[in-house]
């Protein structure tokens, strides 16, 4: 078998993969964020049982590799008789994974808001929901931005695992090209460079935001 030469068309194919990587990342982040927000509310619930139950669920998700979650979702949805498109399976698995991590990140931010703010809100006769919405969350939001942007990097990198269920994003595209050109260093080097080009600005942005946050505190 003859190896194909590596051409610009291959780079174009990888760029197409970049688009799908971005699409899957956005999907995972948006739906994971919505679910994660819900889980975060459960984690700070007034009821001990709810707090513990949500803690256990989060710990379970964080104690299983994303790859295994992905396979379980892929085969799990399959047995319910759905013909699952790879993007659905990958999207659901990534959503579960992101929700668990975002919930913990955001809970930390909410708990970092001084307790006295809760108490003051209570003194003003705000209901718990009003206190959260008008007093606590706006302050927690400011704290949450840098780690959330940092987690986006994690999400983008994790989408590479979606390649295993046959979803043609950047990593899968690189694998396919590698199978025909055998230029592994070049192909995976370029794929890595694309990931770097997406992730590094996010990392840098997260660091800048963090610095700005700390300036205000001194």
């Amino acid at each position: 078998m003859l190896a194909q030469p590596f051409t610009l068309a291959h780079v174009g194919y990888m760029l197409n993969g970049v688009l799908w990587t971005l699409a899957l990342s956005a999907l995972a982040f948006v739906f994971g964020g919505i679910a994660g927000f819900g889980v975060m509310l459960l984690r700070i619930s007034r009821f001990r049982a709810v707090r513990i139950a949500s803690l256990v669920v989060v710990q379970i998700v964080q104690g299983i590799p994303l790859l295994v979650i992905l396979f379980a979702v892929y085969f799990g949805l399959g047995i319910f008789g759905f013909q699952v498109a790879p993007i659905i399976a990958a999207g659901v698995a990534m959503m579960i994974y992101s929700a668990a991590f975002l919930a913990e990140i955001w809970r930390g931010c909410v708990e970092a808001v001084p307790r006295t703010q809760f108490e003051a809100a209570e003194c003003l006769a705000l209901t718990r929901w009003e206190a959260l919405r008008k007093v606590i969350l706006p302050q927690a939001f400011r704290l949450a931005i840098p780690p959330t942007v940092g987690f986006m990097v994690q999400v983008v990198k994790s989408t590479s695992l979606a390649s295993v269920v046959g979803f043609v994003e950047l990593t899968r595209a690189a694998q396919i090209i590698n199978n025909s050109t055998f230029q592994s260093f070049l192909v995976f080097g370029i794929a890595g460079a694309f990931y770097f080009a997406i992730c590094w600005p996010l990392s840098a942005w997260s660091r800048t935001l963090e610095r700005k946050l700390h300036v205000g505190r001194h």
């Binding site: 299983i64 590799p65 790859l67 379980a72 990198k157 770097f196 990392s203």
Partner: protein, 227 residues
Amino acid sequence: MKYKFDFGALAEYWPQFVDGALLTLEMTVLSTVSGLVVGTLVAIGRRSENKLLSRLCGAYVETVRNTPFLIQLFFIYFGLASAGLRLPVVVASVIAMVFNVAAYTAEIVRAGMDATPRGQLEAADSLGMSLPQIYWHIILRPALERVYPALTGQYILMMLSTSVTSQISAEELTGIANNIQSNTFRSFETFIVVAGIYLLLTLILKAGFWGLGLALFTRRRRLGTSL
């Protein structure tokens, strides 16, 4: 929907599950230890006065932290193979894992080192301690103690990411699961069992690291203070 769960079909495969879990643990321990050593050296290099060395270490850390582990694994395994160096999958996997986790370790350890109070460095200097002595007693050991929780968290994440090495057909837990599910056609059950085993490994590692922390950092226990 009519689906009958059948975990019984998996029962005869239990020795394979155990083998897979053991390989996962071995790979984790090996890359934790090597990753800690390499990562600490990189952290020291990053803090070096030598601009070139510091830049180089910084570039390495940023590159690894901003690309997926799967790509790094493929790059090392297939890249070296295409260059004529065929490594056994487990060796290639461990190399990739050390390459990966050392960068995260370096970043965490560096943060711990940077948190060393200036006064302690000046005190050490005025006691006539040499640079290696200062590094070992004043900077490194308290730094490791300070970042121990973050470090162990990272190593647990790394244990989970060993699953990725199944993609170059390493026969660790996930790789075993892939074999078993293609023999039994009990895919969902297989991955539920494997998820359970990973959860167990996570708990074991957490407990192990907690115990190790108690054994290593006796000062904190004696004084009851954090650094």
